[in-house]
């Protein structure tokens, strides 16, 4: 089973990120579970969402304490929440930041031994959609690193989950995601 924790702020598409991953996994013939964790949610407030993906039915429930993959859609979350403590040694971290991995690890020595991948998701989103909503772009980056879902299933899931938005915006999200996908080659995440 693969467990993913996503942090971000209300309005950045944290919950939609979890839904796209869950729906895409289903399209790939896998089992999935996705859910948000929030109280009185509002734009800008810290939001978390979780995804479990497995090739058999998933029994475990509840929030994920030891994720295989940690995604930060907003690096300012680090200042308000202790997101790096108690991570497993094989955790892969994906961060939306303009810094590179070396600089990031220098600033955060607590994750220096973990696999950290930085992407300027907001920059790519601004270029492609003209909006600072980086979630779909960052999923493209995640797939490039982990291959956890197929591109076909991903595209189909994006069209489902963003269905209420104009077609043009959906296509631009996918274009941005494919751009981010091109930035990386498979780095292989192990499942536990």
């Amino acid at each position: 089973m693969l467990e993913i924790t996503i942090h971000g702020r209300g309005g950045q598409g944290v919950v939609v990120t979890s839904r796209i991953l869950g729906t895409a996994a289903l399209y790939d013939g896998l089992y999935a579970q996705d859910f948000p964790l929030y109280g009185a949610a509002r734009r800008g407030a810290p939001v978390m969402a979780f995804v479990r993906i497995d090739d058999k039915p998933i029994l475990l429930r509840g929030y994920i304490a030891k994720p295989d993959i940690l995604m930060l859609l907003d690096e300012s979350i680090i200042e308000v929440k202790d997101v790096f403590s108690d991570l497993p040694a094989d955790c892969t971290i994906i961060i939306n930041t303009t810094r590179n991995t070396g600089d990031f690890k220098d600033a955060h020595p607590e994750i220096k031994d973990l696999r950290v991948f930085c992407v300027d998701g907001t920059g790519i989103a601004l270029e492609y959609l003209k909006k600072p909503i980086p979630n779909v772009v960052i999923i493209g980056f995640l797939i490039g690193i982990t291959h956890l879902i197929t591109i076909d299933a991903f595209k189909k899931a994006v069209r489902d989950e963003l269905g209420k938005y104009p077609l043009d915006l959906i296509d631009k999200n996918i274009e941005g995601a494919l751009k981010a996908h091109e930035l990386v080659t498979g780095a292989g995440v192990t499942t536990r």
């Binding site: 839904r19 869950g22 729906t23 289903l26 089992y31 999935a32 579970q33 996705d34 859910f35 948000p36 964790l37 109280g39 998933i58 029994l59 475990l60 429930r61 509840g62 929030y63 304490a65």
Partner: protein, 377 residues
């Protein structure tokens, strides 16, 4: 044709009502239930569901409208949660007393104060004695299945009692997982239209319901008790029919035993936490430990004989309560003790959605065999 989609517990409940062709939907919003009613509202607006959407001014009015519409012979549905369920209390007894097969979803949430939005079973168990059938679901598929089966059970002439179907707040209500949506034609074959004989709205044959009685009151209560007894067989039969049709029998209806055949130690639980407990049982069994689980599916009727049978060979029994009756103890543990006539270890855990998790269940399995109440923080 069946389709498989990622659906949250709330969506599954709404799908159940849609497939069962519920006709009247009185409603009032409350977290974490509101998404059920919103989904139904959108289907009615788009023409995908043919029902009347009645926004009411309170939950007391919702249950009053449910009872009134049901007594007029329609199939009704609504959903509530926590404080909303508390406000319904007075009319809960009226609905069961009038023998109306209402289906009400409760998305369990801890009772105030202090305020929590998270799952806890005290809201359901406050209504334990209200004469409603009470069913707990372990996953989203079971939510959809239980709503459809619920109408068939509640509307059976041997039963005619309302049913409350519980799904745990957030753990199920906001969590999406794969759910098979049966085709409408399959459900139409399984569940015929509601055709009541005991309550009919007909100006040519006016009838009075729930009028004042004196000595007769006790007979009405006795009949309610008999209906509750009858419901055990009906639940089992309906579940068997459903299993034949869908392959999903949910343990037979009243209880779901898991790995109990050769168990030395077992834990009883109800609701969605049973999934994580199953995971723990699998893990401990892989290490050679003879542990098992018994999930209580119906709190009312309380399946005492079935529990006694299922646990007959088990040496040490524990009960997990996500509820507390201060001054007495875990409500389910109290009932299980009375039913088994032997000591069990009572664990109070997960109140207000506090995380239990597989590691704590493992610890709990190591703490059985004592006739005490222990709080797992």
């Amino acid at each position: 044709m069946d389709t498989r989609q990622m659906i949250a517990g709330n969506g599954a409940a709404a799908w159940g009502a849609r497939l069962a062709r519920a006709e009247i939907i009185p409603n009032f919003p409350i977290t974490p239930q509101t998404a059920i009613i919103e989904e139904i509202a959108s289907w009615i607006a788009s023409g995908e569901m043919d029902a009347d959407f009645l926004p009411m001014e309170s939950e007391h009015s919702v249950i009053s409208a449910l009872a009134a519409a049901s007594s007029a012979g329609t199939r009704v549905f609504s959903a509530t949660s926590s404080q909303g369920l508390m406000l319904m209390t007075e009319m809960m007894f009226v609905t069961s007393g009038l023998r109306l097969p209402v289906i009400l979803i409760n998305v369990s949430r801890g009772l105030s104060a202090p305020i929590t939005l998270w799952s806890d079973h005290n809201d359901v168990l406050v209504q334990r004695d209200s004469g409603w059938l009470q069913m707990f679901c372990s996953n989203n598929q079971e939510v959809l299945d239980s709503v459809v089966m619920g109408y068939k059970i509640a509307e059976n002439s041997e039963v005619l009692l309302p049913m409350m179907i519980n799904l745990d707040g957030f753990t199920l209500s906001a969590t999406r997982e794969p759910v098979e949506i049966p085709g409408q034609e399959v459900i139409d074959d399984f569940l015929p239209a509601y055709n009541p004989k005991h309550t009919i709205l007909d100006p040519k044959e006016p009838m009075s319901m729930g009028g004042a009685v004196f000595d007769e009151y006790m007979y009405f209560r006795s009949q309610q008790r008999m209906a509750m007894q009858n419901s055990k067989n009906v639940i089992t039969d309906v579940c068997a029919e459903w299993e034949k049709m869908t392959g999903r029998g949910w343990g037979g209806g009243l209880i779901e035993p898991y790995c109990l055949e050769d168990s030395e130690r077992a834990l009883m639980i109800c609701g969605s936490e049973s999934a994580t407990l199953k995971y723990t049982v699998d893990k401990l069994r892989a290490k050679g430990e003879k542990v098992g689980m018994l999930r209580l599916r119906t709190m009312r009727p309380f399946p005492c004989e079935e529990i006694v049978d299922a646990l007959s060979g088990v040496e040490e029994i524990g009960v997990i309560d996500q509820d507390i009756s201060p001054g007495s103890g875990g409500i389910i543990a109290t009932e299980v003790k009375a039913c088994l006539g032997r000591s069990v270890t009572s664990f109070i855990a997960g109140l207000g959605g506090r995380r239990i998790g597989a590691e704590k269940y493992e610890k709990i399995f190591g703490r059985l065999g004592r006739d005490v109440e222990e709080w797992i923080f």
